[in-house]
């Protein structure tokens, strides 16, 4: 056993051991967590931790579905926080549970607890041959004690399950089609529903052709309407889909509030904005932004440039879905939201009902990568169910809705300026980021702040007051996530700008502002390295004191041959997510072909996420995160015109296909016994910059605006 270095903020709110662990009379162990599966395999990691501490095989662990009022409230499954928060809590809880059961066993067997060993839940004394099982001691009984935050945990050298490569929970069901997604729910008497959306955000219903509506009703379709929120409901899903199309055509919309067609990259720096200086490793300050000073007198070179990234969509493979029943005693919802407690409170706020009368159970949906349509569709389902009390309603969004109505990651601009001295050291550093909010999850608060952020709320007859986002002031949150570089630079001036009056609905997408900021910083580092006449790896190491950061960077550099003369472009980039979470260095090899397409050949990823629990799951977060970020970087941008969103499907919003997949080598640094850092978002920012740097290496073209489509590359070549 060893002294724990693991701690969890979740235990402050949920200190009771029974809130985390229970032992059944059959000997099965149930683990309760507030973090949910969204494809990142958190359940697998938590089950591995529990099995390890309790000395039981993995298949004796049951991961209990997260539901409000039952699971610990651990906020949102986001921010790469789940391993630190829930992983640490489960480790401490199961270690406490083991110690508690061993103490009871020692008493019962009349031996010293130190002489006891556990194998598959069988507690045996080394000194006698007497034994007792977990279930004999604890089956169906409450522990009645708190989790001990100082409990001894297993020495990592003795780990048998943690750190191994195992098949993730649920994968055998996934490959055989028996895994139940929310979309697959079927309840007795269940109805299907679809929303009839207006043409765009600002459009409102003027009128509806009554004849069409009547004909639909005669055919067994219910129409639910609350202001400009309209839904159709019926027993046959396909008939409901057709009814939604018919009713849309029968609606007359006031579309006078057209979407702005101004160049968003001009708007980002021209529109009104709330500006805050960022200091003390990423914390915005409530004070005026200091003016930009002239470069220092000893500057031998000063570079100034700007990087842009467009609006990106979550673009989940499955359109969001939710199931709801409105009953006399309350509302039951099934949702794939990342934050069932937040959603519960926001829905209760919208209907002005007691949150305790709303129960939301998490059922997996398609990967969301942040605040996609999951919360909005749950509210849609609730709106429909309220009109049809007692009837279960499964409401699914369409492909168009997921692409055109879910929140986006805001377009951002990053303006950077830095000076070098004669030795090639950075002597001043300015970085201003501009963007809309990333913070529109339905978190309840004054003025109906939760209800106001649920999409359909604004279309109801009596909409909640509009929610006006304020600059997030938490460390490394939103626009300023990874704005402060990990490098040691003197004279830093960092500014976040929350820009007003931008056209599209935005919220959290994997990494929030970090993707744009790291893309900018790590592209700029290569530009500075070239100006200094120093190779990009050495230039970074010259400014990086963090030893774990240096280790991942060096691990990638050792596997990249930057001097090869083979027509392949090579680029490297690095970051530590939030300067606090997992480290990632990325090396990319690519070609730009005659059609100006970026062809990815090879990627080398080095990660340090603290102690590795689920080895393959951790690697999957790195290699999957790389491919998703490569897709953002090469292919993706949301498009719109005055009449609404024009990127409404996979043809108008193309993502990376199987035809552009590089060979990926993922190296995980071993850190047994070191706190979990969470791996889900580490690689994204470096991925974008490494691709930009490799394109420069291949072509001499410095691309500063994502996405790097053939059009963008040809335009850059024309300008060169």
């Amino acid at each position: 056993m060893s002294k724990s270095v693991f701690s969890s903020p979740s235990l402050a709110k949920h200190p009771g051991l029974d809130e985390w662990v229970s032992v059944g009379a059959d000997g099965r162990i149930s683990i309760h967590s507030g973090k949910v599966d969204i494809g990142q395999r958190i359940s697998t990691a938590l089950a591995m931790i529990a099995a390890e501490e309790l000395d039981v095989p993995l298949d004796r662990i049951d991961m209990v579905r997260t539901a409000t009022g039952e699971a610990p409230d651990e906020g949102i499954t986001s921010g790469s926080n789940s391993m630190m928060e829930s992983g640490s809590a489960v480790r401490l809880a199961t270690a406490t549970a083991r110690r508690h059961m061993l103490a009871l066993a020692a008493e019962q067997l009349g031996v010293d607890a130190d002489t006891l060993e556990v194998d598959d839940g069988l507690i045996q004394s080394r000194d006698t041959n007497r034994s007792v099982t977990y279930e004999e001691i604890q089956g169906d009984k409450p522990f009645g004690v708190d989790v001990d935050p100082d409990v001894d945990v297993k020495d990592p050298e003795t780990h048998k399950i943690v750190g191994e490569k195992i098949a993730p929970l649920g994968l055998s069901e996934i490959v055989t089609g028996s895994y139940r997604f929310l979309h697959d729910m079927k309840l007795p008497g269940m109805l299907h529903a679809r929303v009839v959306r207006p043409p765009h955000y600002n459009a409102r219903l003027k009128g509806m052709n009554d004849e069409t509506a009547d004909r639909l009703r005669q055919s067994g379709i219910d129409i639910v309407q609350d202001g400009s929120f309209i839904a159709v409901v019926g027993a046959n899903e396909y008939a409901v889909i057709q009814a939604a199309e018919r009713l849309f055509a029968a609606c007359d919309w006031d579309t006078s509030g057209a979407l702005s067609e101004n160049d968003v990259f001009e708007s980002l720096t021209a529109n009104p904005r709330e500006s805050r200086p960022v200091e003390n490793d990423g914390v915005p300050q409530d004070k005026p932004v200091p003016p930009l000073a002239d470069p220092p007198e000893n500057a031998s070179a000063t570079l100034e440039t700007r990087y842009d990234k467009p609006y990106h969509a979550h673009a989940s493979m499955g359109p969001s879905a939710s199931c709801a029943i409105w009953q006399e005693d309350g509302l039951q919802l099934w949702s794939h939201s990342q934050g069932v407690y937040f959603l519960r409170d926001a829905v209760a706020e919208a209907f002005d009902i007691d949150p305790e009368t709303v129960r939301i159970e998490h059922i997996p949906g398609a990967g969301c990568y942040g605040h996609n349509g999951a919360d909005d569709v749950a509210f849609d389902a609730a709106l429909v169910a309220r009109a049809l009390p007692g009837k279960p309603v499964l409401l699914k969004w369409t492909r168009e809705e997921e692409h055109a109505w879910a929140p986006y990651a805001t377009a951002t601009s990053m303006k950077l300026r830095a000076s070098l001295d004669a030795d090639g050291k950075v002597i001043d550093w300015n970085h201003e980021s501009y963007g809309d909010t990333f913070n529109m999850r339905p978190r309840s608060g004054p003025n109906m702040a939760g209800a106001a952020r649920l999409l359909s709320g604004r279309f109801r007859e009596n909409p909640p007051p509009e929610f006006v986002p304020q600059p997030a002031m938490v460390r490394h949150m939103g626009i300023h996530r990874n704005l402060d570089p990990l490098y040691v630079f003197p004279n830093k001036r960092l500014v976040k700008n929350l820009v007003r009056d931008l056209p599209l609905r935005t919220s959290a997408l994997r990494t929030l502002g970090a993707f744009g900021n790291v893309f900018a910083i790590e592209s700029f580092m290569d530009e500075l390295a070239e100006a200094a006449g120093i190779d990009p790896v050495t230039f970074r190491l010259n400014h990086l004191e963090d030893t774990r950061g240096r280790e991942v960077l060096e691990a990638v550099a050792a596997r990249m041959d930057f001097n090869a003369d083979d027509g392949i472009g090579r680029g490297i980039a690095f970051a530590q997510y939030k300067n606090l979470k997992a480290y990632a260095a990325v090396g990319v090899e690519l070609e730009v072909n005659d059609a100006a397409e970026v062809i990815l050949k090879r990627a080398v990823l080095a990660g340090d996420a603290g102690e590795i629990v689920d080895r393959d799951g951790t690697a999957a977060q790195y290699d999957g995160g790389f491919l998703q970020a490569a897709s953002w970087t090469i292919s993706e941008q949301v498009t719109w015109d005055r009449d609404g969103i024009t990127s409404r499907d996979w043809e108008t919003y193309p993502i990376l296909g199987f035809d552009n997949v590089p060979e990926i080598e993922t190296i995980l640094i071993e850190r047994p016994g070191v706190p979990f850092l969470g791996a889900g978002e580490a690689v994204s920012g470096p991925a974008g910059a490494a691709i930009a740097n490799a394109i420069y290496n291949a072509t001499g073209l410095r691309l500063r605006r994502i996405p790097f489509t053939p059009d963008a590359i040809r335009a850059a070549a024309m300008d060169a």
């Binding site: 490959v175 989940s316 949906g365 990568y369 492909r399």
Partner: protein, 156 residues
């Protein structure tokens, strides 16, 4: 209500439905075969693929009536197929899914590919996945899984 007879997973099934209903809805709602997924309804993503006479076919947008007289095999019955079962084992071994929403379609596509070409090279594997999308970034693992399945089948 019209009725329709389809051969699904080796069994003739009489279904009361409008034959214009896309096959995917019939499988999922009338037969409770929910493995195939609705991803787009536009034949753009591949999540709805099933085997039709042994070949991967998207069924989110094609009327069920068009499939009369054909052999439809869904992911639920793939364990009974030597190639399909090998693909499933290989996907597990390679950890070739994250959220798993696109996976059934990919397993079907891989099975179809390996039935037509027992030893595909990487280009042939990629070509076999042309109609499929994945958002979590499991692409490399999927390609590796199909290579692994091909090897396993070849060794038998």
């Amino acid at each position: 209500m019209d009725s329709l007879t389809l051969t699904i997973n080796g069994e003739a099934r009489d279904i009361n439905c409008d034959p214009a209903t896309p096959l995917l809805y019939v499988l999922r709602n009338d037969l409770d075969l929910t493995g195939a997924k609705l991803g787009c309804g536009l034949e753009q993503c591949g999540a709805c693929a099933v085997l039709v006479d042994g070949e991967a076919t998207l069924c989110c947008n094609r009327p069920a009536g068009e499939f009369a007289g054909k052999e439809i095999v869904t992911i639920e019955a793939l364990e009974n197929d030597a190639v399909g079962a090998a693909v499933q084992r290989a996907f597990i071994a390679e950890g070739a899914a994250q959220c798993g929403y696109c996976t059934a379609g990919l397993v079907i596509a891989a099975t179809s590919l390996l039935k037509a070409n027992a030893a595909p090279d990487r280009d042939a594997i990629v070509a076999g996945l042309e109609e499929h999308l994945c958002r979590c970034g499991s692409h490399g693992r999927v390609i590796a899984a199909i290579g692994r399945a091909a090897k396993e089948i070849g060794n038998v």
